[in-house]
Symmetry: C2
């Protein structure tokens, strides 16, 4: 079998990894292609061999960010077994995230803020990510609230998480995650 016809695909991953880090902490417009290339140690031609444009790179960065976000969150949650603790872990995970040194908000909220509407693909990726988080919350809520009440509460909790992100971004206060969790607990039907 011909195995891989494109064996140099690790450069692409490194490029996306570097771009992810720089865009996350520096913003999409403020960080230029040349900066990403210099930091990654990759030639400009290689970038445009893998992606047709900067926006296409940003789109791939968002897809990668979504993968890492979901994987990291799920791993953190799966260290707990009790349903209420698993739900609490979502907020605790956010709290850790906010306290990271280079925290600069949610890449999906930020992309919506910077490109809002102009680039439909990026807007779509942002919407899909938030939808994925909400669906994940539904699964965590079902054991606690039953299958009927879970979707509405998941939307509520999703809003709480976005609110915590906004507060943490502007005020720099990682405790926003705890504030959101305290509100979430009070909104649960009949738990401690």
């Amino acid at each position: 079998m011909p195995s891989q016809p494109a064996p140099r695909a690790d450069k692409r991953a490194h490029l996306v990894d570097t771009a992810l880090r720089l865009f996350a902490t520096g913003g999409y417009h403020a960080v230029g292609i040349d900066r990403v290339l210099a930091e990654a140690g990759v030639a400009k031609k290689t970038l445009y061999a893998h992606f047709p444009s900067k926006n296409a790179l940003i789109a791939e960065v968002l897809r990668e960010r979504d993968r890492r976000f979901c994987a990291s969150l799920a791993a953190f949650v799966d260290r707990r077994s009790a349903p209420l603790e698993r739900l609490a872990a979502v907020f605790a995970w956010h709290r850790q995230w906010f306290a990271e040194p280079g925290f600069a908000g949610c890449m999906f909220l930020n992309v919506a803020a910077e490109f809002h509407g102009e680039v439909a693909e990026l807007q779509r990726l942002a919407r899909e990510h938030k939808k994925a988080v909400e669906s994940y919350l539904v699964g965590l809520l079902e054991p606690l609230t039953g299958i009927d009440a879970a979707p509405a509460l998941a939307a509520d909790f999703n809003l709480l998480l976005d609110g915590a992100i906004g507060v943490a971004l502007v005020s720099g206060d990682a405790e926003a995650a705890e504030r959101a969790w305290n509100m979430a607990r009070r909104l649960l039907p009949a738990a401690s």
Copy 2:
């Protein structure tokens, strides 16, 4: 009396007004100085006679946005007299805002997302705006919850509003404001 030594100060206001509109719907990096000047019908030299840099213009835009935001919200709230209705009006005002055609999120959250940390002045203005909103919420909550419980609930409600802004921005759903208000009601100590 010498009345006004600088009678041509209305150009400045027009400049800020145009910049406010364009930055709000187009983003800070994406909208260039030339675009603002063309739209305002003002010469470049006039801009730099009033402001030392683009960032200084952005700072003034944020100050103006804070003034208008607070004035518009207060006027909307003051049409009600019952404390609970006045509080509900805050969320209803946000709902109207989200449904406006060019809605593109909160200019203060967005400035934090685009410049996060680099430009200390802009970050400070964002933080102060959110603090002002929270203080306003304290005043609305005191008649409902007493003077002791109000500050903590105001911080909670502020987080709810930021969450609604985030959800509305990404999903385009103005109903996020109602969702936030329904959560807020459930968090009030002893109201309907």
